[in-house]
């Protein structure tokens, strides 16, 4: 398979006053298109930092990140925003939906940045909601949905603009086992049936089992790689 993500000699250092904290040390990594990769490791190991860098939410202190041939580490803030809108879908632990908008309107949000008409946006959002099995909850506000349903709405929002890459930070961290299973199965389906490249950060080995392979980070360094049983 083609390589989608190429990371070379990637470092990230945070400086808070006089304190200098090197979170990632010279990471080299390649992720193929269509991979479903889990990123595990203890708290503070740099998992979320690596995910944020891959998703274009943060800039590296050193090294390069090339995604689908584009050097995102060299992009300006505005270019990164446009790149994220077109290429990446994000799923967070706490769903991060807009509480005042319905599920439908939440899913439509990324489409506001496109040239689609209102009716096309509505249609696409409806398709995404159907894909996650929530087409009957389109008019519900987040507080009228369960945690699992809210996370599925968040996944619908992440895929509605048809990005190549989905980055998920502890997507099941706030869910009960049954809901977590539903969400993970959905992600697996998006990977297998729709070809999405997915990276999830998780503490949960059961969640990692849904990925095709798992990378372990420890103290900012890639420790080992293991194949999943799924």
């Amino acid at each position: 398979m083609n390589t989608l993500i190429e990371i070379h000699d990637l470092s990230k250092v945070y400086e808070r006053g006089k304190e200098r904290l090197e979170v990632l040390h010279h990471i080299d990594l390649e992720i193929a298109e269509g991979d479903f990769m889990a990123l595990m490791g203890p708290s503070g190991s740099g998992k979320t930092t690596l995910l944020n860098l891959i998703g274009g939410l943060d800039s590296p202190s050193g090294g390069s990140i090339t995604i689908a041939g584009q050097r995102i580490d060299e992009m300006s803030g505005g270019e990164l925003a446009r790149w994220r809108a077109a290429n990446v879908g994000f799923v967070f632990q706490f769903y991060n939906l807009m509480p005042t908008l319905s599920a439908q309107k939440n899913v439509e949000l990324p489409l506001l940045l496109t040239r689609l008409s209102a009716s096309q946006r509505k249609r696409n959002a409806a398709v995404a909601l159907k894909l996650v099995g929530l087409d009957d909850r389109a008019t519900h506000k987040p507080n009228e949905l369960s945690g699992g349903q809210q996370q599925r709405v968040a996944i619908a929002r992440a895929i509605v603009s048809d990005p190549t890459l989905l980055v998920c930070d502890e997507p099941t961290g706030d869910l009960d086992r049954a809901s977590a299973e539903e969400v993970l199965t959905l992600l697996q389906r998006l990977n297998r049936e729709h070809g999405k490249t997915i990276i999830i950060v998780t503490h949960d080995p059961k969640a990692a089992d849904h990925a095709t392979y798992t990378l372990h980070l420890d103290k900012g360094t890639l420790a080992e790689q293991s194949a999943a049983v799924a």
Binding site: N52, G55, L57, D58, G77, G78, A81, R82, R84, A85, A86, F90, F92, N96, M98, P99, T100, L101, K105, L109, P110, L112, L113, A118, R157
Partner: protein, 386 residues
Amino acid sequence: MKYLHLIWAALFRSKTRTILTLLSVVAAFLLFGMLDSVRVAFASGGDVAGANRMVVTSRFSIIQPLPYSLNARIQAVPGVKQVAFANWFGGIYQDPKNFFPNFAIGPGFFELYPEYRIPAEQLEKYQDTRTGAIVGAALAERFGWTVGDKIPLQATIFPNETSGNAWTFDLAGIFRVTDSKRRGEENQMMFHWEYFDEANAFGSGNVGWYIVKLADGADANEVAQTIDGISANSDHETKTQTEQAFNQAFLEQFADVGLIVSAIMAAVFFTLLLLTGNTMAQAVRERIPELAVLKTIGFSNRAVLGLVLVESILLVLIGGLIGLALAAVLMPGVSASSNGLINLPTVPAQTWAMGIVLILAIGLVVGMLPALRAMRLNIVDALAGR
């Protein structure tokens, strides 16, 4: 427009807070609409062009009397159709709190004010009674007066030669104003200048102001200049102006309307800035994670700045327009209760324009700091709750 639902949802995220803030904005702009309308009304009487009734006063002060001898000379000015005159009396009925305008008027006064409707027999009775008086219907109703009643007034400026401060008038007639918006003018009382001139202890032969009716087609500016030319370089130089300008000058004896309006509005808008600014700052602070999500999914810094600014402007715009519209509805009532000093059918266009400029300026000012904060938001820190 496609972002409107997003802005609207953010605006009413905390309904109670937004509605309370909106009410403050409504109150501020209601006050602005009414006060500024009054200011505009008082500031817009200077141009005599187009007027068909003008007032001649002393150039130096409207409390400075003019000689009665000017009456005939003004009447002789080409373009003048008719002249009447009046003199402020300032009498008090029973108690100073019962204030109403009362003044002595010369012959022909009511012919210059055809909008004051008096039954013919009452007008005739007034003309035949030396101590006769005419009052407006609202004033008669206020004190329960009927034709034939004796009305005692206490002089505050002009004592009576024979009875000291006590003046007594015989109510001969009651007038009504045809235009319902000018009902406030029914709170006046008029009586004969001849009686006043003969009986007042301060000397005779003076009037307070002349009222001039122009002939059809007369050039108001030219007539005004000619009238003022009669007394040029004398000790009683005149100033001929519209009734509106006269009313403005009259009121400014008591207060500078423009200054008062400006001072009140400055205080009101300063408070509004703090209040609305606090609301917007709080609204953005509460939405940091949501704004971070918008940036995560691709909204640019500028787009987020724009969203918050438009939200702020929309908040002030809704409240401001409601306030101004309410002022427009209430202005006829204010006109009616101004004793004829203000004649405003509604909020003037100048006030609307100024109001909209203020709405945009306040919206921008109160939204700028929260919008900049939202724009500079670091996604990673905001999502991590830092």
